[in-house]
């Protein structure tokens, strides 16, 4: 048996009325990777913060190599041998990579000043040591792509020579996961223990022998990964079966009807000659690797991104959708990518977040009629499985998944006929994902149309009637029906099969 490094006993933490952690206990051995799984809001982040010294637990005890571990700050935790690569990334945007790597105590020279040359020299050595010699130490962090920032964040945690390393969703923006896996294997040999938080089961299977699952702040499972099937894991996380995750439903598309949304030859910055027709009852997928034009396309369809040419028609009528307001009036609603900054009004209640576009309709004489507002909102929240008792709460008290349900409810409440969903399930727990899938199915069943971008290929494959694949800002191909597979989409998206299938049909 390997020596015990970290032992957590009956850890508890509550924020106001919310129980974040309730009597969580587990142990971590030297040279072990332990997976930590759970839906959003299950308590993973709180556990990470308690272990890294950011929050102090209300009750319970942590022991590090047998000694009581009560870090008063993150610096204290680092000193004692626990370091963390945070999900939200803790790099300071306006400083260089080199300075960030040196924080909080940049090396000083003889007269007490921080030497830029020394900083860069050390950063070069550190980056090279961790297989990231391609990152330039002098680059300012906020000029770097998210994936590179995440690598720097991970390297900073590794470079502190921890005995316990906490990795919180370390691959959420990473393009080369093998790089991280290699580093993990390397530090494991040195006896480092790793707590690995992720949503991705394949990573758990690749890295961890054991995994812990949290649900509603409690530990529900602590078991060897090899003994569990994916369904076992999903079931433990969601508390119910996830087999019904993708209901195979017959397509509701009506190809003979007038297209709900038709784009012809759209051109603009990041959009090159994009044409498609979205039929009523159809879920039309959009796939593409990062930065291949999906963002501009979705924004352009509601007038948030300038177009140089092309034509947009809604239900057969040419429309200039030059602002989200005009688009909304035409029945076209975008559910944007960044929920926190573009989706929710964080200081408003959940009900106000949903009713905001229709506030005029429920405000005779300009005074808000709360009853009518509630009636209107209650018509749509069952569609997204948003519990009624959430309505009066501040939206920031809700989990990410429930917030997203509220954002979708807002799109429904205006009576949209055409939804543009940009990665609606990102950062959303398994339960909420299922609700979103159900809502999408019901929406198209009633004759609505959905343009659906997702970073998760299996969603596209299982939910869409057809899928457009973007490559270098134009449509590289379109796959539909039986031909729709992850492999084909991926090969089109990476430009490998650019000529192969201009239009649907055939197998890869």
């Amino acid at each position: 048996m390997r020596p015990l490094v970290l032992q957590v006993d009956d850890l508890a933490k509550r924020y106001g009325a919310t129980i974040a952690l309730e009597d969580v206990s587990f142990a971590l051995n030297a040279g072990e990777v332990c997976g930590l799984l759970g839906e959003n809001g299950a308590g993973k982040s709180t556990l990470v913060k308690a272990l890294s010294g950011v929050v102090s637990p209300d009750r319970g005890e942590i022991r590090l190599k047998g000694d009581r571990f009560r870090p008063t700050s993150i610096v204290d935790a680092n000193r004692l041998g626990v370091s963390t690569a945070f999900q939200e990334l803790s790099l300071v945007p306006s400083l260089s990579v080199a300075t960030n790597l040196a924080l909080p105590d940049a090396p000083k020279n003889a007269i007490g000043l921080v030497s830029g040359r020394e900083l860069r020299r050390r950063a070069e050595a550190t980056l090279a040591d961790w297989g990231a010699a391609d990152i330039r130490p002098s680059d300012i962090v906020d000029s770097l792509p998210l994936g590179v920032r995440q690598r720097v964040e991970i390297i900073r945690a590794l470079a502190r020579n921890p005995s316990v390393l906490l990795l919180d969703e370390p691959t959420s923006a990473l393009s080369d996961r093998e790089w991280l896996f290699g580093l993990i294997d390397r530090v494991l040999k040195e006896g480092v223990s790793i707590l690995y938080i992720t949503h991705k089961l394949d990573e758990i299977r690749r890295l961890c022998r054991r995994c812990i699952i949290l649900r509603n702040g409690q530990k529900v499972l602590d078991q060897a990964v090899s003994e569990m099937s994916n369904d076992d894991i999903f079931r433990s996380m969601a508390g119910r079966s996830a087999v019904e995750q993708f209901i195979a439903a017959p397509s509701a598309a009506r190809p003979q009807d007038v297209p709900a949304l038709e784009a012809s030859h759209l051109t603009g910055e990041g959009i090159e000659d994009v044409s498609f027709a979205l039929q009523p009852g159809e879920i039309l997928g959009v796939a593409g690797l990062e930065g291949h034009g999906q963002g501009p396309l979705f924004r352009a369809l509601v007038g948030l991104h300038p177009l140089r040419g092309g034509r947009i028609a809604v239900a057969g009528t040419a429309r200039g959708l030059h602002s989200p307001r005009v688009a909304r009036a035409a029945g076209v609603v975008l559910v944007p990518e960044e929920r926190k900054t573009e989706g929710i009004f964080k200081d408003l209640s959940t009900i106000a977040n949903i009713s905001v576009p229709v506030i005029r309709r429920v405000s005779p004489l300009h005074f808000l009629n709360k009853q009518r507002e509630r009636q209107l909102v209650e018509q749509v929240i069952p569609d997204v499985d948003l519990p009624e008792h959430f309505l009066p709460l501040p939206i920031t008290d809700l989990s990410g998944g429930s917030q997203q349900k509220a954002v979708l409810a807002r799109a429904l409440v205006v009576g949209a006929r055409c939804l543009l969903l940009f990665d609606p399930t990102r950062g959303v727990d398994v339960g909420a994902k299922q609700s979103i899938y159900r809502m999408m199915r019901a929406f198209v069943h009633d004759g609505g149309a959905i343009l659906f971008y997702s970073t998760e290929l299996d969603e596209l494959v299982h939910l869409c009637d057809r899928c457009l694949v973007l490559y270098r800002n134009h449509i590289a191909g379109e796959v539909s029906g039986g031909a729709l597979s992850q492999e084909l989409v991926l090969s089109l998206a990476s430009g490998q099969a650019a000529q192969a299938q201009p239009i649907a049909g055939g197998s890869p």
Partner: protein
């Protein structure tokens, strides 16, 4: 240039220097005596109070906070120097006193903001009003007397060629360039840029903010001391018009009022611009009220140009989501 890249190229400050040079050139062409030692000394004397006060304010602004207490501290410092520099404290004692008073006000500001979590804008409005009141208590009406050592020593030239004000400004800038390379200097930028990330990176956010308020207070004290040297007397209301000019100097110098970007160098140049502009307009024969019109326009131009790079950066960063496949890569 590693330092420059680390602290992000100060585009705003470079623009400010350019504006300053153009204005000085216009001033020098239209006024023959502008390049005399006397005129330069006079110009710098007019600049220095605002420059030092803006330098202090810059530190607080860089952390993303507000500080309006500056003019209150300057008022107290002015009346303290006018009542004590001839007599009990002497010129040096008065200097120590005003620096300590400024630091104490800064400490109060910092404690209220950091310790109690109050909003800095509201807190420093409060301390500003209180300080102005204290100045009136110390000296109810303009008057008092400033020691000749102060009044003459800080306004003249060394050996009739080098203005004392120039020496002070160069000293402050050197101090700043050294300070920006200390751990505290880096921490100030980090805190202003992203407070949460700075905390998670292990920096002490509260201590950093507290110290900037204290340092800023001390700088306001020095500015008040220099103001006394200029005017030669005490006037509890002499600094009344200063507040907006301090902020204007900071903004023109390219420091973001949201924190994290800019620096003291730019603010000092910004103060210089506001002063040389008056001289330039006067030399051109423009009526004095045009000065305000110009100050405003210059500030807007500086803001616009300084923000171009930020706007461009924001556009560049707006990419789509990264690809996440549930299956391993082929």
């Amino acid at each position: 240039m590693s330092l420059a890249t680390r602290l992000r190229p100060a585009r705003g400050a470079a623009i400010a220097v350019l504006i300053y040079l153009v204005m000085y050139l216009v001033y020098a062409i239209s006024e023959a005596s502008a390049t005399s030692v006397f005129a330069i000394t006079n110009l710098l004397d007019n600049t220095i109070v605002l420059a030092i006060a803006a330098a202090g304010l810059t530190l607080v602004v860089l952390t993303g906070e507000f500080d309006l207490s500056g003019i209150g501290v300057i008022a107290i410092a002015n009346v303290v120097v006018a009542t004590t520099s001839v007599g009990i404290l002497g010129w040096f004692g008065a200097l120590v006193a005003v620096v300590l008073i400024g630091a104490a006000v800064g400490l109060i500001n910092g404690w209220l903001v950091v310790g109690l979590g109050l909003q800095s804008l509201a807190v420093t409005i409060g301390t500003m009003i209180a300080c102005e009141g204290v100045a009136l208590v110390i000296l109810a009406a303009p008057g008092g007397e400033v020691s000749d050592t102060v009044a003459n020593g800080l306004t003249g030239d060394i050996a009739d060629v080098v203005p004392v004000a120039a020496v002070i400004i160069v000293g402050v800038l050197m101090l700043w360039f050294v300070f920006a390379r200390t751990r505290l200097g880096i921490a100030i930028y980090a805190v202003g840029s992203d407070e949460n990330a700075a905390g998670l990176s292990g920096l002490n956010v509260r201590r950093t903010k507290l110290l900037t308020f204290v340092l800023a207070g001390a700088a306001y004290g020095c500015a008040g001391y220099l103001l006394s040297a200029q005017t030669g007397s005490g006037d509890p209301r002499a600094s009344n018009t200063f507040l907006l000019f301090m902020y204007a100097a900071v903004a023109i110098g390219g420091t973001s009022l949201a924190g994290g970007r800019g620096g003291v160098f730019g603010s000092v140049v910004g103060a210089g611009i506001l002063t040389v502009m008056q001289k330039m307009l006067f030399a051109l024969g423009a009526a004095s009220f045009y000065t305000s019109v110009f100050s405003g326009i210059i500030m807007l131009v500086a803001l616009f140009v300084g923000n171009l790079s930020v706007l461009r950066l924001r556009r560049r960063r707006r990419g789509g989501a990264e690809w996440q496949s549930a299956t391993p890569r082929p």
